[in-house]
């Protein structure tokens, strides 16, 4: 079985984790920019963006894994508008790096007005980036984090509303809204966006519930990730979800769709992403 891990924070994982991912069939990872556990200075962000775009692709390549990343100021650090302005000014030049897929993971954390303002500024950067690119796409790809626990439903609604306010400048097929759960998946999919489900202890979905959602809402435009980071998390939760689907009798083509081909299709809208969807068939 081949996997693309669509959301993993490798800067906080060991090199042994890269080896484990390679051993377990992961051919590519996508790493959104996120919070380091403490608030950084603008200069710290530039160093972090260099780590994402220069160091991690090399570390992954040792194990035959392609490493891609997303650039942004994460919502947890979006409260300070002055700092946000400085960090956002650095983003456009990183967007043209050979392994950067787009803007992310932007979004909301506590659903504050400042977070909302910085979210909208990021979306505008994504739109502006497209006008310089050759592809004819409306905007750079966007990866969105939705808040946790009791803030999730309200935050997801706010995000959908803000995206709607951009009107035809936003193409839902070029936006993935992550960390959906039972109460938000329909809102996201019905509006035409891609959805991501995160298998993470306590605060997000479990393998069984994620497979329930694949069954209830269909595998189209749906990705599964473990969002493994510096917290108590496990990169193999993506694989556990695949096993859970397999034990219920889901067949290889559907498993490949969810765990490899869907991410390949979404990320592949940026021509930098080199892994193509695959199919497996008997030789005779």
């Amino acid at each position: 079985m081949f996997f693309i891990d669509p959301h993993i924070h490798m800067v906080s994982r060991t090199t042994a984790d890269y080896e484990m991912l390679a051993l377990s069939g992961v051919v590519a990872v996508s790493e959104p920019a996120f919070w380091a556990g403490f608030d950084r200075s603008p200069a710290g962000f530039v160093d972090y963006f260099r780590q994402l775009t220069e160091f991690e692709p090399r570390r992954a390549a040792q194990f035959g894994i392609q490493h891609y990343s997303w650039i942004c100021l994460n919502p947890k650090e979006a409260q300070d508008l002055g700092k946000a302005r400085e960090v956002l000014a650095e983003i456009p030049k990183f967007l043209s790096c050979p392994s950067v897929l787009g803007i992310g993971e932007i979004g909301l954390n506590k659903n504050t007005p400042n977070e909302a303002k910085v979210f909208q500024q990021h979306v505008q950067i994504a739109i502006d980036a497209a006008s310089q690119g050759p592809s004819g796409a409306k905007h750079a790809l966007i990866l969105i984090h939705t808040p946790h626990l009791e803030d999730k439903l309200k935050g997801t609604r706010m995000i959908l509303e803000m995206l709607r306010d951009f009107g035809s400048a936003i193409d839902p097929a070029r936006v993935l809204i992550d960390h959906v759960e039972e109460h938000t998946i329909e809102l996201v999919k019905d509006a035409g966006y891609w959805a991501g489900m995160t298998i993470y202890p306590i605060s997000k979905a479990t393998p069984a519930r994620a497979v329930d959602m694949i069954e209830m809402y269909g595998p189209q435009r749906l990705c599964v990730n473990a969002a493994a980071d510096w917290g108590i998390s496990d990169p193999l939760n993506t694989h556990r979800t695949m096993l859970e689907a397999q034990r219920r009798g889901h067949r290889l083509p559907e498993l490949l769709q969810v765990f490899h081909n869907n991410p390949a299709e979404f990320f592949g809208q940026n021509s930098k992403f080199a892994v193509k969807p695959i199919k497996v068939q008997p030789l005779s």
Binding site: L149, K154, E182, M216, R248, G249, H250
Partner: protein
């Protein structure tokens, strides 16, 4: 046997029950023990009116509904409006 579009893979309802019963049982016992632990602790009377305990009781009522959509309803219960 009717297999709906959203069926859990190839599993029949009996197979789903066989597969998940022990896990569900363990989680319910864990929850019961958590409620007992709160009661055994100092100040247990004072927390009886805590909104979080009410959420748990309201969730248990959702579990008793005869129709699907329970997980979504519990999620909505714990969401800020």
């Amino acid at each position: 046997m009717q297999k709906s579009e959203t069926s859990p893979g190839d599993l029949t309802a009996t197979e789903v029950l066989d597969t998940y019963f022990l896990e569900a049982r363990a989680r319910l016992i864990e929850l019961a023990a958590t409620l007992d632990r709160i009661d055994r602790a100092a100040g247990s009377q004072a927390v009886q009116s805590d909104a979080r305990l009410k959420f748990i009781q309201d969730s248990l009522r959702i579990l008793q509904r005869p129709q699907p959509g329970r997980a979504k309803a519990v999620q909505e219960l714990y969401s800020l409006k």
